[in-house]
């Protein structure tokens, strides 16, 4: 018997997923984006003579004389990476950490870790 009527205020259920399907789909969608970006990137790396200019060009190349295709696709891939990692790492905490306080703390730290990475990466990429 579930006592849902008791779940308000500080008694509200604050752990567990409750949005599992959405994140299941998001994890797979971002996985496909990352797989496509990664395979194209690896092909470019293996068939290019890598030096500073060609390496940087992998992230900064433009189309139609100025549209920043490299930067935009790389940024989108990195955002997909952050969301993908969020779902995966959250799964790890939900599997192994049963103490709600510790789990919630780890989840907050995970978000901070990932948002820091996104901001740090974007600032480097877009200053090129």
């Amino acid at each position: 018997m579930e006592h849902r009527y008791e779940q308000y205020g500080h008694k509200r259920l604050a752990v567990g997923s409750g949005y599992g399907t959405m994140d299941f789909i998001a994890q797979r969608t971002t996985a496909i984006i990352l797989a496509v970006y990664s395979i194209l990137f690896l092909l470019a790396v293996i068939f290019t003579k890598i030096d500073y200019d060609s390496w940087t060009n992998l992230f900064t190349f433009t189309w139609f004389g100025g549209f920043p295709t490299g930067k935009i696709s790389t940024t989108l891939a990195f955002l997909a990476l952050a969301y993908h990692a969020w779902v995966g790492v959250r799964d790890i905490w939900m599997d192994y950490v049963t103490c709600a306080t510790l789990r919630l703390s780890l989840q907050v730290l995970t978000v901070m870790w990932l948002v820091s990475s996104v901001v740090y990466f974007a600032s480097v990429l877009w200053s090129l």
């Binding site: 797989a35 395979i39 690896l42 790396v45 990692a85 790492v89 790890i92 870790w113 990932l114 990429l125």
Partner: protein
């Protein structure tokens, strides 16, 4: 079992680290699965403290690019990168396998064994190929 004897409820638990490493002999797909999790966690941990700083140094200037592979720091970096390249390759290959499983392909036991073996081998081969490429640049 007699008709009126009540079946005990089955107990469901997550596998503990001890289960995975000591108690059970995992089949190949199980090994791919736990390595998928381990490699993902590794990449997650490395992201803001190794991978993004490394990216920053590699694109910062021709000098910082050239300095990456030099000295003891360069040796250490190559070692760390070797592990992370394996982690990335394994996560990518196993991830593609899981996507095909999600679409209902390769679910037979024999097929799953075969694809798990393929993931382990291909990710190692790719690691070697890209490590050679990297050691040529750094």
């Amino acid at each position: 079992m007699s008709e009126n004897q009540k079946k005990p409820n089955r107990e469901f638990r997550n596998l503990s680290l001890r289960n995975i490493t000591v108690d059970y002999k995992l089949p190949l797909p199980g090994k791919v699965s736990i390595l998928h999790r381990v490699s993902g966690a590794l990449l997650f941990l490395a992201l803001p403290i190794v991978l993004v700083p490394l990216f920053a140094a590699s694109v910062g200037s021709p000098e910082s690019f050239a300095n990456l592979g030099s000295g003891f720091g360069g040796f250490l970096l190559k070692l760390i990168l070797l592990v992370l390249i394996w982690g990335f390759m394994h996560h990518l290959c196993a991830g593609i396998r899981y996507l095909t499983l999600d679409f209902g392909r390769g679910l037979d036991k024999a097929d799953a064994q075969k694809s798990a073996k393929l993931v382990l081998i291909v990710s190692l081969v790719l690691t070697v190929i890209f490590a050679i490429k990297m050691f040529g640049v750094l």
